[in-house]
C-alpha cells in the first residue's frame, strides 16, 4: 500500500513542498505588511549556499551543525531582505524593481554562485543532512507512515510555523497591527503603530524564512549544492501566497500540491513508467501554473477580490508638511 503511486506522491509532495512552504510563509509576512518582495528566489539561493557551507565547516554533533546551519541560512536570508527593506521602505524605491534586482544580485549568476564556487562547495555531499526521525516501524505504518512519520524535522518545523503564523495573524495584537499596516498604513500610523518598524521587521522575517527554505533544499532534499539549485522555487513561493489568498493554512495546501507536481516525474520514472514527451509538461507544469497565477492577479481588481493587502506595493508617506 505504501508503494502505491498516490501515497508516494503525497509523501514526496510534502517533502518537496516544504521549501515552497517556508518561502511562501516568509513572503506572506512581508506582503501582509505591504511589502512585495520579488527577491525570494535570490534570498533562497543565498540561504541554500550559506546553510550548506555551515554544515561543511561546523564539526561536532550532527544536530548542532544542522541547527547552526539553519540559523546561518535564516540570517543570510534576512541580510538579503535588509537590502530590499532599506531600498523600498526607507528610500521608497519601486518594490518590483528592487525585488527583481535582489534576485539578480543574489541569484544563480550572482552572489550565491560566487560564494558557492569560491568556497568550493560544488559537487560535495553534505557533511550532515536532515533525515527522518521516527523509527522505521512507524514509518511503515500504512498511509500515515510515509506521509506523516517519514519526514525530516524541517517538515515538522514548518507545520509549527504555519500554526504559529496563523495564530499570530488572527489572534495577537502585533498580528492585528501588522494587518492594519498592510491594509491601511495611514490609519495604523494615526493609531500610533510604527509603519516603518512593522514593515522592516516582517520583511526581515520573510527573508529569514526564505533563507531556511533554501537550506531545506540543500540540507534535506538533494542534499548537495550546485549553482542555481532552487530552480525557480522562489517564484513558485510568491505565486503560492496569492494562490493561498494570503492565508498561511492555504499556503500549506498549495505548497504540497506544487511539491507533488515536482515529484510526479521522478516517481513515474522510478516505476519505469515512461511518459515520453509528457515529461516535458509534468516538469513545466508548476512553472506554467505560476505564470498564469501571476498574470491573473496582477490586475488590481483581481487582487482586491482575492484579499490582497490593500497597501501592497505602495510606499507609505505620512501626510505631513
Amino acid at each position: 500500500m505504501n508503494n502505491s503511486l498516490v501515497v508516494a506522491l503525497i509523501a514526496s509532495g510534502v517533502a518537496y513542498g516544504t521549501p515552497l512552504l517556508f518561502g511562501a510563509l516568509g513572503e506572506l509576512l512581508a506582503e501582509r505588511s505591504g511589502v512585495l518582495n520579488l527577491g525570494v528566489e535570490g534570498m533562497m539561493l543565498v540561504g541554500a549556499v550559506m546553510g550548506f557551507w555551515t554544515v561543511q565547516r561546523v564539526h561536532g554533533s550532527s544536530a548542532l551543525a544542522l541547527v547552526v546551519a539553519i540559523l546561518v541560512a535564516a540570517l543570510a536570508g534576512s541580510a538579503m531582505a535588509a537590502i530590499h527593506a532599506f531600498l523600498v521602505i526607507t528610500l521608497r524605491a519601486s518594490q518590483i524593481v528592487s525585488g527583481l534586482a535582489l534576485t539578480i544580485f543574489a541569484g544563480a549568476a550572482g552572489l550565491s554562485s560566487y560564494l558557492g564556487n569560491d568556497l568550493n562547495l560544488s559537487g560535495l555531499p553534505a557533511a550532515y543532512s536532515f533525515h527522518a526521525v521516527f523509527p522505521n516501524s512507524m514509518q511503515s505504518w500504512p498511509i500515515v507512515g510515509p506521509i506523516v512519520f517519514g519526514q525530516n524535522p524541517l517538515v515538522y518545523a514548518s507545520w509549527v510555523c504555519v500554526v504559529a503564523v496563523a495564530f499570530y495573524l488572527a489572534r495577537t495584537r502585533p498580528g492585528l497591527n501588522l494587518r492594519a499596516v498592510g491594509e491601511a498604513p495611514g490609519a495604523a500610523d494615526a493609531m500610533g503603530i510604527s509603519v516603518v518598524r512593522y514593515r522592516y521587521l516582517h520583511t526581515l522575517a520573510g527573508g529569514a524564512f526564505a533563507g531556511v527554505a533554501g537550506a531545506t533544499i540543500t540540507l534535506a532534499i538533494t542534499p548537495q549544492w550546485v549553482s542555481g539549485i532552487t530552480g525557480g522555487a522562489g517564484w513558485i513561493a510568491i505565486a503560492l501566497v496569492i494562490f493561498a489568498f494570503w492565508r498561511p493554512e492555504l499556503c500549506l495546501v498549495g505548497a504540497y500540491f506544487f511539491g507533488a507536481m515536482q515529484a510526479l516525474a521522478p516517481e513515474l520514472q522510478a516505476r519505469n513508467i515512461n511518459l515520453g514527451p509528457t515529461e516535458l509538461w509534468t516538469n513545466s507544469l508548476p512553472y506554467a501554473a505560476t505564470v498564469i497565477v501571476l498574470v491573473v492577479v496582477s490586475s488590481r481588481g483581481a487582487r482586491r477580490r482575492l484579499g490582497a493587502p490593500a497597501a501592497l506595493g505602495v510606499p507609505y508617506v505620512r501626510e505631513q508638511a
Binding site: R173, A180, A190, G192, G307, A310, Q320, A321
Partner: protein
C-alpha cells in the same frame, strides 16, 4: 462637574506652508462640556488648526494647553494619549477589519494591551457604548460593508472607546443625510453632557447654529471672533466669515424657456466601483438653454451617473443621446464628438493632466484638428492657450506653466476653457465649485449661465443646495441610484425629504 474649566487652549498658533500662512497667530479656547464650532470658508485654516490640535501637524509657533497643562504632540498617537481624538473627513479605518478590530487597533489600555486579542470582549463594550450614545453599529460588521454614516459612528465610537476628553469633528455632516445629521447632533450633546469637549468644524451656518454653544470664526488663517451661538445671528456669522456681506447672486432667468432636448438619458443602469449598482434606471432630459441640477448627498450615484454620460464609465443598460445621437457605453471620444463637455468632480486627477503645461491641457480634446500629420502644432497651441488665459482670466505665469501649479479656481477655469471650445451642446458639471473661494465660485457660475444662454444644456451635479437654488431651472434629487424631480422648485422641505429618501409630504 465644572463646566467653566478650559479644556483646550491654543495661543498664538502659526503654521506656514510653502507660499501660504495657513494659521496666523490663532488664539482659541474651548471649555469642558461645550460644543465649540470652528466656522470658516474653505481654506480659512480650520483643517490646519485641527490637524495641529490632533497631532498631525506641528505648529511653527505657539503653544497648546490641555486642561491648563502645556503639551507638545509629535504624532496623532500623542494626542490620543492626551485625550484628543479627531474624526476625520476621510475616515481612518481599516476597511477589511471588523468594527471591534478597528477599536482594538488603537487601544493602549487594559484589555487592549495584552498580546492575545479577544474581539468578543470588545464587542460587548461597543454595543454598550452604542446604546448609550445612540451610535448603533454591529461590532462584527466589516467596515467596508458599512455606509458612510455608519463609518462615522465607528470613528466616534472609537474616540469614546479611547476615552477621549476632546473630540474634533471635521465637517462631519458632509457625508450625512439631514436626518442622520440631526441624530449626530443629539449624540454630540449627549457627549458634552459628561464634561467632554466637542470641537465641530463646519462652513455651514445652520449647522453651527443648531449644534454649538460657542463659535470661533476663522478667516484667512486668523481667528476673527469667538461668540456665543445664542447671541449671534446667521447674518452676523456670515459676515464675520467672509469679511463682507455676500449673497450668492441668483442668476436664474425668469422665463425658463426650454428648447428641444439636447441630452436624453433613458433607463440608465451603471455599476459602482464595488460592483454594486450605483445608478438604477435613471431617466432624464435636458433642453437646450436649460440648467438642470441633480442634488443629493454624496455617494448616491451622482458621480457614476456623470461619468457614465461622459463616457468614462461603461453602463450596463440603457441609452444616452446627445443632440439626438446615440452615445456608446464607455466611449468618451464619441461623447465629445457629439458635443458633450464634461467638468469632472476630481479636478486635478481627471480634469487636467497635472504635469503637462497649460497649453497642452487646453488642447487635450481638440489637438487632433488641423495637425500636420502626426506632428503637433505647438505654436498654435501656445496661441490658443494665451487666448484662453485672457478670455477666462486664468491667473498663470503663461502657457508653459504646469497645470498642477495653478490654484483650484484657475484649474477649473482652464477646464471650462477647454470644454467650451468647439461645438458644445451639453455640459456635465460635477461639483464644479467644490473647494473654490467665493470669487472663483462666482466666475464659474457666470460661465455656466453664459453657456446656457448660448443654448447649451447644462447638467449640474452638486451637493451645494445654495448653488443649485441659485442656478437651476429644474431640480432633480438623487437617492440610492434613483432620480426624483422636485415639483415646487423652491420647496426646501421637499428637497430635504427627497435627499433623505422619504416620499415628500409623508
Amino acid at each position: 462637574m465644572s463646566s467653566d474649566g478650559v479644556a483646550v487652549e491654543l495661543r498664538g498658533i502659526t503654521k506656514r506652508f510653502p507660499g501660504v500662512v495657513a494659521n496666523d497667530a490663532v488664539d482659541f479656547e474651548a471649555r469642558q462640556g461645550e460644543v465649540h464650532a470652528l466656522l470658516g470658508e474653505n481654506g480659512a485654516g480650520k483643517s490646519t488648526l485641527s490637524h495641529i490640535l490632533s497631532g498631525l501637524y506641528r505648529p511653527d509657533e505657539g503653544e497648546i494647553r490641555l486642561h491648563g497643562e502645556l503639551v507638545s504632540f509629535h504624532s496623532p498617537r500623542d494626542a490620543i494619549d492626551a485625550g484628543v481624538c479627531m474624526v476625520h473627513q476621510h475616515f481612518r479605518l481599516v476597511e477589511r477589519f471588523t468594527v471591534a478590530e478597528n477599536l482594538i487597533l488603537g487601544d493602549r489600555r487594559g484589555a487592549g494591551r495584552r498580546f492575545r486579542i479577544d474581539p468578543t470582549a470588545v464587542e460587548d463594550q461597543v454595543r454598550r457604548l452604542g446604546d448609550r450614545y445612540r451610535l448603533p453599529v454591529d461590532p462584527r460588521a466589516r467596515v467596508w460593508q458599512l455606509s458612510v454614516g455608519e463609518r462615522q459612528r465607528v470613528e466616534i465610537l472609537n474616540a469614546l472607546y479611547q476615552e477621549a476628553r476632546v473630540l474634533i469633528l471635521d465637517e462631519p455632516t458632509a457625508v450625512l443625510t439631514p436626518d442622520e445629521a440631526e441624530t449626530l447632533f443629539e449624540t454630540l450633546r449627549e457627549i458634552v453632557q459628561e464634561g467632554r469637549t466637542v470641537i465641530f468644524i463646519s462652513h455651514k451656518l445652520n449647522e453651527v447654529k443648531a449644534v454649538s454653544d460657542r463659535v470661533t470664526v476663522l478667516r484667512a488663517g486668523r481667528a476673527v471672533a469667538t461668540v456665543s451661538t445664542a447671541e449671534a445671528s446667521p447674518q452676523s456669522l456670515a459676515s464675520l466669515m467672509i469679511g463682507r456681506s455676500f449673497e450668492l447672486a441668483v442668476r436664474r432667468r425668469e422665463d425658463g424657456a426650454r428648447g428641444d432636448a439636447v441630452l436624453e438619458v433613458r433607463d440608465l443602469w451603471v455599476e459602482g466601483d464595488r460592483g454594486s449598482t450605483a445608478v438604477k434606471g435613471v431617466e432624464l432630459a435636458v433642453g437646450a438653454g436649460e440648467i438642470v441640477a441633480v442634488a443629493g448627498v454624496a455617494g448616491n450615484g451622482q458621480r457614476e451617473l456623470a461619468e457614465a454620460i461622459a463616457g468614462v464609465r461603461p453602463w450596463t443598460r440603457g441609452a444616452v443621446l446627445v443632440g439626438g445621437r446615440r452615445l456608446r457605453s464607455g466611449d468618451p471620444r464619441r461623447a465629445y464628438r457629439a458635443g458633450l463637455g464634461y467638468v469632472p468632480e476630481d479636478r486635478l486627477g481627471m480634469g487636467v493632466a497635472p504635469n503637462l503645461p497649460l497649453s497642452m491641457n487646453v488642447e487635450l480634446k481638440s489637438y487632433r484638428h488641423g495637425t500636420l500629420g502626426p506632428l503637433l502644432r505647438l505654436g498654435r497651441m501656445r496661441e490658443r492657450a494665451q487666448a484662453a488665459i485672457r478670455a477666462y482670466e486664468i491667473k498663470a505665469p503663461g502657457p508653459h506653466a504646469e497645470a498642477a501649479t495653478l490654484s483650484g479656481g484657475n484649474i477649473q477655469k482652464l477646464v471650462l476653457a477647454r470644454e467650451f471650445a468647439g461645438e458644445l451642446r451639453v455640459l456635465i458639471a460635477a461639483s464644479p465649485t467644490r473647494g473654490l473661494d467665493v470669487g472663483a465660485v462666482d466666475t464659474v457660475h457666470g460661465h455656466l449661465c453664459d453657456a446656457a444662454a448660448l443654448g447649451v444644456g447644462v447638467l449640474l451635479i452638486s451637493e451645494d443646495l445654495d448653488e443649485i437654488l441659485a442656478l437651476a431651472d429644474r431640480i432633480l434629487v438623487m437617492y440610492e441610484g434613483r432620480l426624483s424631480e422636485v415639483e415646487r422648485r423652491d420647496d426646501l422641505d421637499e428637497i430635504a425629504a427627497l435627499m433623505a429618501g422619504s416620499e415628500p409630504g409623508s
